[in-house]
């Protein structure tokens, strides 16, 4: 997050210009609208499906004539588990002219509103919970599947929330700080969305991402503001008092 200014001139392709529709035979249909983006007609369009380190690329013609040049069929990945990105590239230099990231096939989206923190229930051995950043860069709160009704407790049990969420919130920010060197203002990445969320909480511009002390302080302020918005302490005190 050293720089949050998009100085590359790269354009963003809005999500509503892209529709990716999975078909039952493993193929998919991609409908792209790249008109009126101010892009050169020779710009080459590439559609990429990826999961972890495996990427499948599809040549999708040019800005002037956007159409798949090969069959849109995944050979190495399962359409149920992939994320897509669309790139428009200058054919001479390889420079990115426009990009859209983290696209889910239609029907897999959350309908506009997107979760900041996904909750998963898994066997994580002796730990009650932990936070991870998944392969798509999304923060995930993992609750141990040995905890009875963990998924409903995290949504409704105030003490459960008080014991987990403030610490998880802090961990997410620290993990995103550690894993992201750069963010841009128009970036729709999970890190960028968290940054904006924390910025709204603190009412302060994030500091230079290289200034460790300032970042730690800023995260601390964001965590306090987050905790202040929720009755974590009250739930905790009630539980302690109730138990004594």
């Amino acid at each position: 997050m050293r720089s949050r200014i998009n100085s590359t001139g790269r354009k963003k392709i809005q999500r509503d210009r892209i529709a990716i529709l999975p078909r039952e035979d493993g193929r998919f249909v991609c409908d792209l609208d790249v008109a009126n983006l101010g892009l050169p007609p020779t710009g080459r369009i590439v559609v990429e499906a990826h999961r972890q380190s495996i990427t499948e690329r599809f040549d999708f013609g040019t800005v002037a004539d956007p159409a798949p040049l090969t069959a849109l069929s995944l050979r190495q990945l399962d359409i149920e588990d992939v994320t897509f990105r669309v790139k428009i590239v200058d054919p001479e230099s390889g420079r990115l002219l426009a990009r859209a990231d983290r696209l889910l096939p239609n029907g897999h989206d959350e309908g506009g509103r997107r979760e900041l923190l996904t909750v998963k229930i898994k066997d994580i051995g002796p730990e009650p919970w932990k936070v991870e950043i998944d392969a798509a860069g999304e923060p995930v709160l993992i609750l141990n599947d040995a905890i009875p009704a963990a998924d409903s407790r995290i949504m409704s049990d105030a003490l459960f929330q008080a014991l987990i969420l403030p610490a998880a919130f802090r961990q997410v920010l620290h993990l995103l700080w550690a894993e992201n060197e750069q963010l841009e203002q128009d970036d729709d990445s999970p890190a960028s969305r968290w940054l904006m969320f924390a910025q709204a909480l603190t009412n302060r511009e994030p500091p230079d991402w290289d200034a460790s002390d300032d970042v730690v302080e800023w995260i601390d302020i964001a965590c306090k503001a987050f905790a202040a918005q929720h009755p974590f302490m009250m739930a905790f005190k009630e539980a302690v008092n109730g138990g004594s």
């Binding site: 999961r51 972890q52 190495q76 230099s93």
Partner: protein, 265 residues
Amino acid sequence: MVAVRRLNDQGIHEFREWLEGGAWGSAPHELLTSPLKSEPLSAAIDVEQRSFSSRFDLGQYLNEKLQLLPFTNMAFDTGLWDWLTLFWFDQIAAPSATGKRNLREIARYSQDSGGRRWSRHVVRMSWLSVHNHGDNARYFLSTGLDRHTDVLEQIAGQQEIFGSRAAVALGAHLYWDKTANVLKRGAGGKSAGSPRRLSRFMKQIRMTYDPEAMQPEQLVELLPREFSRWREKQEPQTSAAPAAKGLLARLMKRNGTSASASSNQ
């Protein structure tokens, strides 16, 4: 020879429990054949107990052996990769005379399919590296099965590099001494021009460029000056830039890829 199977959920659970308990004593090899803890694959594949000189050696072996399996079913099959790990576990984390193993993080032995540690699994990543990058994977897999080097972490552990054939080929050109067939001296460090710096460089340029759409020489030309000593070491008797272009182009060609290569183009 032993028929490869895959651990089922119970088998994976028990293998992880044993790992989390410190992996004391004999590995639970009974899971490998138990019909309650493991199941057969869709194709008949045999493997053997043999010694691997490096992760590259293991990757080559598996790449050949697993050809019959559909990639999609195999690449994310935790049960398969954990089965294979358990099969060679005494080589991957050898026990001492007291029975204690020098155990590292669990993700190296049991596939962490959902998180960011997907690159740590010793067996899966050895196979995937050779499968995706062929000979160009030598420089980060030239280490024993029981070790995890910084070169490996920086190249195989970073999606920006590992997911790009052009970037991995660039690393092979920079850090692998083809004459001596070893990692170049100093490539394991963290200083200027190191794999750690290449990883950072790739993260930066992917904001601006699409490496897969670039010719090898275009990628080399973008490298900052700090990488020049690695380029020059390769062909000291010729001028650095033309040698770099030619070598990198050959590296990629030999592996059947081009800078814009992909499975679908």
